[in-house]
Symmetry: C2
Subunit: 187 residues, 2 copies
């Protein structure tokens, strides 16, 4: 439409009667959210990356360990679909986690071709430690947003997921919630 960045108080002339979208959806607000998302994610992952560097693991290991701990019994194909990487990429990282004793692979009982992934005790403990760091950060952010905002924030983040994958993601979350996996530090 028109507006430069935020809203009013420019030359009032060319502002005209065009006000079709709610003020919160103007480019200035959207651009700020884009930028904040970058900074938020940079630090959200950076903290955990730093922790993992001590174990000579990287972000890729964390992602695998996280999803396996959160969804124990996850088949490899499902993990690939979540991470959107190739199985060759996964293989190296997964092997290191298995060799290190953080994850075990069990043949599936209904389909014995599958390798279902489970965290070991140590794997679960490590995952829980890292997740606790991230939960703390989220809790801080949530307090600043006002805890009432949690529902809206969840809707926002879910809305960022590509439509073709949104149902899948929601299913995953539902399944995990029903299972009560990785309940957290107090579990």
């Amino acid at each position: 439409m028109s507006l430069g960045s935020s809203s009013q108080n420019l030359a009032p002339a060319d502002r005209a009667p065009t006000a079709p979208l709610p003020d919160e959806l103007n480019p200035g607000t959207l651009t700020e959210l884009i930028e904040l998302l970058f900074f938020a994610y940079r630090d959200f992952t950076g903290e955990v990356d730093a922790q993992l560097a001590d174990l000579s693991f990287g972000r890729a290991h964390h992602r695998v360990l996280y999803f396996v701990s959160r969804h124990p019994g996850l088949p490899v194909a499902e993990l690939l679909d979540i991470l959107k990487i190739t199985k060759q990429s996964l293989a190296r990282v997964l092997k290191q986690l298995v060799d290190g004793g953080f994850i075990v692979q069990e043949p599936g009982t209904i389909d014995r071709r599958q390798r279902l992934l489970y965290p070991t005790g140590e794997g679960a403990r490590l995952a829980s430690d890292l997740t606790e760091l991230q939960m703390r950060r989220i809790a801080v952010a949530l307090e600043r947003a006002g805890p009432d905002a949690a529902v809206a924030i969840r809707a926002f983040l879910s809305g960022m997921v590509s439509p073709g994958d949104r149902d899948h993601v929601d299913d995953l979350l539902l399944a995990a919630a029903a299972r009560g996996a990785l309940a957290g530090p107090d579990a």
Copy 2:
């Protein structure tokens, strides 16, 4: 709406009198937000990555082009601080953007050691195209969250930034808003 497991309407029995922290800060909610953040960011960046692959550019190029377009005249040191990478890492990517005619470097007028980074016309156009994709995605997500939530979401994302950097990030956003840079698709 979408919510996995939000709150009420479970068996009312085992809900008990333990409510020390606000219901929204329980581990289940925090873990869901962790997970949604991963999926949201995965797709938020994935869409743009796919676009850039056609130009044989990657996410690193996008980040540089984005910040230079959003903050024209950015000194190299400031960009390094934003991206939290080394200057050797930046060098390769920046060179490709300069060689490709997307970014120019001007010596600073007050401090002639500095190289201030500016987008070219083509650079600004490309940045704007990519940003428009991301704005659309954010707008969709914001509608699902309810546009009133924009303020809370901004507070949330800002709260995710590490405390030592939060003021710096807020300053950056303020400066850009005042400048009105990268006005959007119509600019």
